[in-house]
């Protein structure tokens, strides 16, 4: 079906009793500026066509004009809810291309902040997902807990959202005084809070009725369409880059990978929720065994990696963040391509939505946890 930007279907494209409903880009449950064109037959969805690009900032073109170090703050602004893992994906690509060895302590600190970031990001997801489904209270609770993590990050690097904490060759600085104690307080508090949310919301009858059996994706579809992270694991594929392709220091830690079965909204939500417990375990192990040493390798001020290309990927809260980086031997990247998990998941949206009711599309979009900043770049 062809749709013109003025939202008019080409003649003859629609069946007699079908019509189009425009959703977004200004819609509270699209988490940013996503427009979805819904083709409906009564209350039933025949198709859902995502229309993206409203937040396009030409990141890849801008990055070609800046030096390798200058690109790090740009990556914060892609997936702004999980800036730490974005930076990690990018600096890992540069380090691999330039052959830079990162000190052990810096690797552990990277894991520490990445896991705290995962909890913060999942808390935002949890709050907004509940809000989408009509429960207002969990949002206030989740933001209250996220505040602890943002305070820790603010003490660490001075910023609360766009950190630029990762540097090529390590991290920006060591932990500030009192950081470990405050993190341990958070670790002590958080499991009971998570159990509270579980009882209040995740085991709520209304929540289960609205999410079970909705937006089902089979394991084959999830792999074929490039799903990753909790969206992939919700469909029963046991795959986590942190465990199966360990980067940074992840091979030093013990943690579980929650896997769902049926691939519906409920299983994806449960996978995401349980991941927070596992992240807490990793954070605790990092604090217990943090090695001494430098936090940054010596890196030349004008970095010129040898000509070549590299693809690195990390497990962000949303899934596989990949960076395809090409160097021509100069001080600026020749090409940076950002592989965003949400971009791949939006391709799955029509697959998930087909045959469900109009009200379910809100639950489906919430369950794949899209961030339009990284979709549109």
């Amino acid at each position: 079906m062809t749709i013109t930007p003025e939202f008019r279907p080409a003649p003859g494209d629609l069946e007699e009793h079908e019509f189009l409903v425009n959703m977004g880009p200004q819609h509270p449950s699209t988490h940013g500026v996503l427009r979805v064109i819904l083709r409906v037959d009564g209350e039933r969805l025949v198709d859902a066509i995502p229309d993206i690009g409203f937040l396009h900032r030409c990141f890849e073109k801008v990055a070609e004009g800046w030096t390798y170090q200058q690109v790090v703050p740009l990556t914060d602004r892609l997936d702004y809810v999980s800036a730490m893992t974005n930076e990690l994906a990018y600096v890992m690509a540069v380090e691999k291309l330039a052959g830079i060895e990162v000190p052990e302590r810096a690797q552990w600190l990277r894991v520490l902040v990445a896991e705290l970031q995962r909890i913060a990001s999942h808390l935002v997801w949890f709050g907004t997902f509940a809000l989408d489904l009509g429960a207002t209270t969990p949002f206030l609770y989740a933001i209250r807990e996220r505040e602890h993590i943002l305070d820790l990050f603010e003490a660490l690097c001075g910023a609360r959202l766009t950190y630029s904490y990762m540097r090529i060759g390590g991290v920006r600085g060591d932990l500030p005084p009192g950081f470990v104690g405050k993190t341990r307080e958070f670790l002590k508090l958080m499991p009971s809070r998570l159990r509270e949310y579980e009882n209040l919301f995740m085991r709520n009858r209304i929540f289960e009725n609205r999410t079970k059996g909705i937006g089902r994706v089979t394991a084959e579809e999830a792999v074929a369409y490039g799903a990753s992270g909790p969206t992939l694991r919700g469909s029963g594929v046991d795959w986590d880059l942190r465990r199966d392709e360990p980067y940074s220091a992840y091979d030093r830690f013990e943690f579980g990978v929650p896997v769902g079965q049926s691939g519906d909204v409920y299983d994806r939500a449960v996978c995401r929720f349980k991941e927070m417990y596992e992240s807490l375990k990793i954070v605790e192990q990092v604090l217990d065994g943090l090695p001494e040493g430098d936090v940054r390798a010596k890196v030349p001020r004008v970095l010129k990696p040898p000509a070549g290309d590299v693809y690195t990927r990390v497990e962000s809260p949303r899934g596989e963040v990949g960076v395809y980086l090409v160097s021509d031997g100069g001080p600026k990247p020749y090409r940076v391509k950002w592989r965003a998990p949400s971009f791949a998941h939006l391709r799955l949206l029509p697959v998930m939505a087909k045959g469900h009711m109009v009200a379910d599309i809100v639950a489906i979009i919430g369950s794949i946890d899209i961030i339009l900043g990284e979709v549109d770049r």
């Binding site: 792999v223 360990p246 395809y324």
Partner: protein, 173 residues
């Protein structure tokens, strides 16, 4: 971490041998990290992709990324499909080059082999101006339908067409 690289390297050697049989026209190269670089001419891209997806016991079934790289020095645009086996250690990148000086540089679409290529190919079409033949829905994805030019080409800024006011007529079907 080294155990992962070892498994990846042995999978890479097996994949190279598989490609020597299933896709003899492909130029293959194994990198130290175990990535198999596969270079093919455009008319063999679909067959090479099917050979990669048909590799056993680690079929390269998971398309992570497809990126276009403009190389004006060679007068070419390179499209790189980064594929992984899931679950499994194999990793490959399929590279196809197309002449960028023609009016309509075109490559065969690989959506039939890897459905995930859909949005990535639309993005390459949008930003680099490569037409994918056989793509089910080749439209601009990030930029507006009325946008002129392809910004990720290296000469976009010099050759940018003059900005034109968008009128109502532009939106007629």
């Amino acid at each position: 971490m080294s155990g992962m690289t070892d498994r990846r390297l042995s999978a890479a050697r097996a994949l190279r041998d598989h490609l020597a049989r299933a896709a003899p026209y492909a130029e293959t190269d194994v990198r130290p990290d175990g990535e198999v670089v596969v270079r093919v001419p455009p008319d063999k891209a679909v067959a090479a992709a099917e050979a990669l997806a048909g590799f056993r016991p680690h079929p390269l079934n998971y398309l992570s990324c497809a990126s276009g790289v403009d190389r004006p020095d060679d007068d070419q645009i390179e499209v790189v499909y980064t594929v992984h086996s899931l679950p499994g250690p194999a990793k490959a990148s399929l590279r196809v080059r197309v002449d960028r000086k023609t009016e309509r540089p075109s490559l065969p679409s690989l959506v039939q082999v890897w459905p995930a290529a859909d949005y990535h190919e639309r993005e390459i079409y949008d930003l680099l101006g490569v037409w994918f033949e056989g793509h089910p829905d080749l439209r601009r994805i990030l930029l507006a339908e009325t946008f002129q030019g392809h910004p990720l080409r290296k000469d976009f800024v010099q050759n940018r067409p003059p900005r034109r006011r968008v009128t109502r007529e532009d939106y007629q079907p």
